[in-house]
Symmetry: D3
Subunit: 293 residues, 6 copies
Amino acid sequence: MFYHDRRLQRQVTVDKPDPLFARMLQQAIGGVEGEIRVCMQYMFQAYGARGPSNKYRDLLLHTATEELGHIEMLATAVALNLETAPTEAQEQGAKDAIVGAVMGGGESPRHVLEGMLHKQLLSTGMSAHPSDSDGVPFDMSHIYASGNLAADMYCNVAAESTGRVLATRLYNATADAGMKDMLGFLIARDAMHQNQWLAVIEELGGEAGALPIPNSFPEANQTNEHAYQFFSTSVDGSYPAGRYTEGPSIDGKGEFSVFQAQPMGEEPVLGPARPDSGAQNEQIGAKPAQQIP
Amino acid sequence: MFYHDRRLQRQVTVDKPDPLFARMLQQAIGGVEGEIRVCMQYMFQAYGARGPSNKYRDLLLHTATEELGHIEMLATAVALNLETAPTEAQEQGAKDAIVGAVMGGGESPRHVLEGMLHKQLLSTGMSAHPSDSDGVPFDMSHIYASGNLAADMYCNVAAESTGRVLATRLYNATADAGMKDMLGFLIARDAMHQNQWLAVIEELGGEAGALPIPNSFPEANQTNEHAYQFFSTSVDGSYPAGRYTEGPSIDGKGEFSVFQAQPMGEEPVLGPARPDSGAQNEQIGAKPAQQIP
Amino acid sequence: MFYHDRRLQRQVTVDKPDPLFARMLQQAIGGVEGEIRVCMQYMFQAYGARGPSNKYRDLLLHTATEELGHIEMLATAVALNLETAPTEAQEQGAKDAIVGAVMGGGESPRHVLEGMLHKQLLSTGMSAHPSDSDGVPFDMSHIYASGNLAADMYCNVAAESTGRVLATRLYNATADAGMKDMLGFLIARDAMHQNQWLAVIEELGGEAGALPIPNSFPEANQTNEHAYQFFSTSVDGSYPAGRYTEGPSIDGKGEFSVFQAQPMGEEPVLGPARPDSGAQNEQIGAKPAQQIP
Amino acid sequence: MFYHDRRLQRQVTVDKPDPLFARMLQQAIGGVEGEIRVCMQYMFQAYGARGPSNKYRDLLLHTATEELGHIEMLATAVALNLETAPTEAQEQGAKDAIVGAVMGGGESPRHVLEGMLHKQLLSTGMSAHPSDSDGVPFDMSHIYASGNLAADMYCNVAAESTGRVLATRLYNATADAGMKDMLGFLIARDAMHQNQWLAVIEELGGEAGALPIPNSFPEANQTNEHAYQFFSTSVDGSYPAGRYTEGPSIDGKGEFSVFQAQPMGEEPVLGPARPDSGAQNEQIGAKPAQQIP
Amino acid sequence: MFYHDRRLQRQVTVDKPDPLFARMLQQAIGGVEGEIRVCMQYMFQAYGARGPSNKYRDLLLHTATEELGHIEMLATAVALNLETAPTEAQEQGAKDAIVGAVMGGGESPRHVLEGMLHKQLLSTGMSAHPSDSDGVPFDMSHIYASGNLAADMYCNVAAESTGRVLATRLYNATADAGMKDMLGFLIARDAMHQNQWLAVIEELGGEAGALPIPNSFPEANQTNEHAYQFFSTSVDGSYPAGRYTEGPSIDGKGEFSVFQAQPMGEEPVLGPARPDSGAQNEQIGAKPAQQIP
Amino acid sequence: MFYHDRRLQRQVTVDKPDPLFARMLQQAIGGVEGEIRVCMQYMFQAYGARGPSNKYRDLLLHTATEELGHIEMLATAVALNLETAPTEAQEQGAKDAIVGAVMGGGESPRHVLEGMLHKQLLSTGMSAHPSDSDGVPFDMSHIYASGNLAADMYCNVAAESTGRVLATRLYNATADAGMKDMLGFLIARDAMHQNQWLAVIEELGGEAGALPIPNSFPEANQTNEHAYQFFSTSVDGSYPAGRYTEGPSIDGKGEFSVFQAQPMGEEPVLGPARPDSGAQNEQIGAKPAQQIP
């Protein structure tokens, strides 16, 4: 179960509110690279963790709980970027900060701004929502929790890698010192988490021990002659040589080689359509194609 | 650009059609761990590949094109599992293969079966659709193509890991020799692809060279004191010790340690609601909470 | 604007409630081939209809309004299939009608049934919901209203064709006289609507007058040499000859021929990644691929 | 069943077309607070209404039918805001109305405008679509029809409350007299509907009679000692006192009090992974955590 | 920020694992009436809370944090329902508990069961996922946080009402004492939360003080003559009389009456399509409809 | 199975990079009218093609494979529109090309631009993604593959019609010669494909032979008296006369006529709610409506 403290994990300040940056920050909340994703992914991996003992259940709960605080920080940053104190000053502020400087003045810069801040203005009244920077709501199919510990760890490394890439893009897109401080903190935490999940892979025997994932499937059951071949699909037979075309495989269980892709099967022929299946008569009678026209 | 051959990459045979297994196979087509996902993920990573030269663009196109053939194999397998030759025999077949043996007979086993095969029966007329085994359509937000080569490689390892886990579950769920052959082949290819994408990480300098991703972000800009700390969020201060709580970090750039999570910020106080923002009067006047009741 | 009558467009009766059929009927309500789709598609086409006069706005409103009554009929049919009069009799009814006969008896057939009727039992309390037979909610991106009258008509023919295919599958899946009557009526209406939308194409000049859609785009602006060629992508150069490979084109504006697909462009080379774009260093420096390993 | 009149429920005029406002209006059509939602929600609640008699079925049909006319009004308003009469004048109009005044002139303000009006320009050819102001299509999972009359009424109050909040935000965002007239009408109707659905709650016995919803569940079956306690999850045990922490409960069936949240359960320990479940070997053997590294 | 305790808020036990019930429980996790929804809804309402002071921010955080623990309990219950200790016993267990008793025996009841447990078997390896009982992933557009405190409270009452309805349906669908205990606890908490959010409405002045929501919109700006009228859309002018057709309105600001719906506007006529808009020529030239055929 | 060539089907050049046009091009990639849709639709229709022989399976594979190359061309165009060579020049370029010319200068036009390019900047690092121009990911429910050949052909005509409409809108929205060349090519291919799929209808007997779809459903089973009637739903009995209100039907199997819509059924009365269904007591007891207040 969980507890909360009204205070934030780290202070969030915005020196100069910037509504467009508020919208960009949404990607780090509700984007597929964002914090809801890692928070919920670690939660659900924890809830389904089976053996060894409960060590990894607990580990995952620690970081899931931390990430929940990151959602809170980012949502607070969105709300702060959307506001200034008095109303008239705000319109002036908006003009200065964003539109005026850019657009060369005019009667109503606020109107264009409104045209770019749909959900924030119309749906939330100047605060964050669990959607990405395009207003697309986060969808929980992105919570990867496979029941395989090693697969989940790579899913987590992937999430923290795209997450840190996104955070550095946001860092580069703002000049606000408060925002740079917050993002620099989140970027550091993503660095830790990349290392952390790979450390679990190391505990599980490293790439040689963990791969191929799942390592519980008997290798005799897979088509071993194709298990370490790079398939070239190029019409001219060329391929980009690399670490993956020769030498020992990363998991240490095979030798890389190259195989020119070609049909090893026949053209499939399905049976005719069933009479009650809503097909056209021609599909049911299976009149040969050459007789059709 | 692309070419096709009417023949399959590998022969697909079904010894005994099994409509329920057809539905399970859908997860490998349109599930988030499935083949549409890896095919399109590699395609879009290729289309956006920037430096070094076009090597990785081509590499990604090779494997994307291979995966396209895997979608075709699986879709063919679904169609074959949904059919038997003559209609009457088919109903008998269905009774024998699935329902009869299980359900102890009865007048109309086909009716229950129909109740479990919605999209296949009602929408596709006995063939595959690009949805998962629950009938949820695949959604392209699962195509991870971040513009960062290393992040993308870990996304690909994650995809091939959950993909191989899924394929082994399907392998274990069928007794059909034809299906076991097809799945054993796909399982082998997933093993190769796990190795292949990690081989690219090795080319990029391995974990020490590639991490933290993106490696182009100046480390001075992140909050370095927190970049290698495990944050414990446990109320009692406990934590599960492991490779990630002490020793050198995986990227070789820091030393793991433990930090007891605590608020480093204050409780955030947002400004009152704007008068024209559709809030309640109480939120605009900002009457102190203690005066509300 | 709209009016309603509490009575149905056509009587809906269910002789023997069948919860599994209720679930199948959902496809005709909230499936992409279903009635919400055609109702809303015609509504939105009407709302955006521009010239000639308001004739087609009104035509579309007529049929949209009719379809609204079809949603009502189907939703009523779902509710009736989920109920029987007294509770105890109902459990008996369920046992008789569906599970008992099929599954050979047992202590609690209702439990398996419940396991197959999620949304109906858990979310709606025994009535219809705007989702398909797999419980996937209808999503309004399927409302095609392109602003081009001829394109919209073909979208409507497509919708009524898949809709009638679905309705005949449902007709074939039930033995209930009441349900067959309702579906026979809906199937007749779909026949009319297929004819109706093609009649509008005829009013617009038929295939020769309407195609290529949009007919307002100057033909000189398209790459005319490829406008009537069948592109063969087969590696061996073969192709399935047909009405589309020779003879006058359907729109009467060209002559069909065959073109063997081949690259007419070069391999694209994108610029290196920008330094602030969150890419890996290797992508920014654009070190040649052969130097990478 | 339903009928239509070609005329609108209320005249819709646009004095000065404003494409950006057209985009904002989309939120009231296809947003989760919009008119498709209430229309379809009342329709489906009607279709599944069970006892008392058919009174509430009919009531719901009345208001559902009214809302259908509101979708039509808003869609018409979108189309009118996207047009002006002759093409050249329109470009001039666009420059004047939106971009020119704001952006200080320039060669091609229309281009930026186009960059902000994707679906309207590209997909609908200058008319409305059933999506929100960010272009996210409406998804029917927002149709709440629970089969419980009182729960549905609160869902309806919630929908009309967020709907009126949205409509007032749109009212405040436009200076167009025609648009203010239309929105003032819709805002009035939302006021009525908030009152209307709460009037049904009053008919059902008010808060004391209807709560807790469902009132048909025997109170003896719930854990009554926790049924009127405010759970404090604050680590320091503090909580914000209010009407909900002491005094009689709103439903008149209990007395509010405060409970400091704490674990009343143990740490859950799941069994090891099954051998055939695609887990890693370590999860199957259940090696104790302390032996892993 | 947040903390966690490895123990559960309340003990979760399953006396007799029931995989089908595991699937039904998913609705309470990832259904629109489920715990992810209330947890995240209260979180985001808290993050955007503006005035009065931070009282309601804190209140919302308390209950959001509690709900997070409910997700954990339910996910644990799903995992427990999917397992039994030794593998062979499990297959036996499955046969006994669910399929055998129901289906009258047969060789492979597990196969049918597998056909009904897609995501649990194939995607999560026997644990919970953030999807509903049909496998549809939760989508965050269901997080209602409008920026209006009273509207949000009614959204919360709606969520807790449909949530408690769902929980009682699950309670009635199981005979397992452990599951009944857990659900009885959650049902009690939902009762509290219904009362709690209505208590906030009472603090905000009750229905008379809070309505119409938002109460900050000047009543003079709405079309007051229609603000308390029930609109009858029946073709025959009939309507279901009730508390909402006469007497003082619930908000005490008007008097209910009845208005027979009729067109107060004209048929809208949109301008012809623009020449460059991809319409058909007929729509651009605006040839009168009567001349079309 | 499939092969690839690193070169493009047709050269793609961008004379003057235009990030806003890059965003608009996304609609042709991931919009419902886009190339992913037709590519995957033809693929899945091919995979499920049943009789006549494999002719149409092969035909569909040809065009599906061609469309895959179109996705590649468009994705390359997006990447090229997002880049310019050196960074400083790029910012200058952006200023010149898009914002500067439009907005009259200002300090940071790039900031506004960033506010309009979310996914391209934040998620992909300057390349294409499989989403539409609003950033909404493509969802595979738009892959229509009904199992009925004629229905599928009309779905394909519909897709190519909306696709060509979209492409002409993009053509009209750009002044870039390279982009006009690419779009002119795609527009020509769409013209061919409209003709191609209608040519298959001609092979299947034309409208008279193919309609009503499915032509395998016995006409005696539909309610024939309503199969060729235009239903008028207008309250005043008026209707827009046309080709669809009199004369022979398009399929040659009936005669069009007009029918004034009216209730042919009664008001449906559902049974009371079940006691264990989570309804309110009033719904279970079925107290008559008139006794409720």
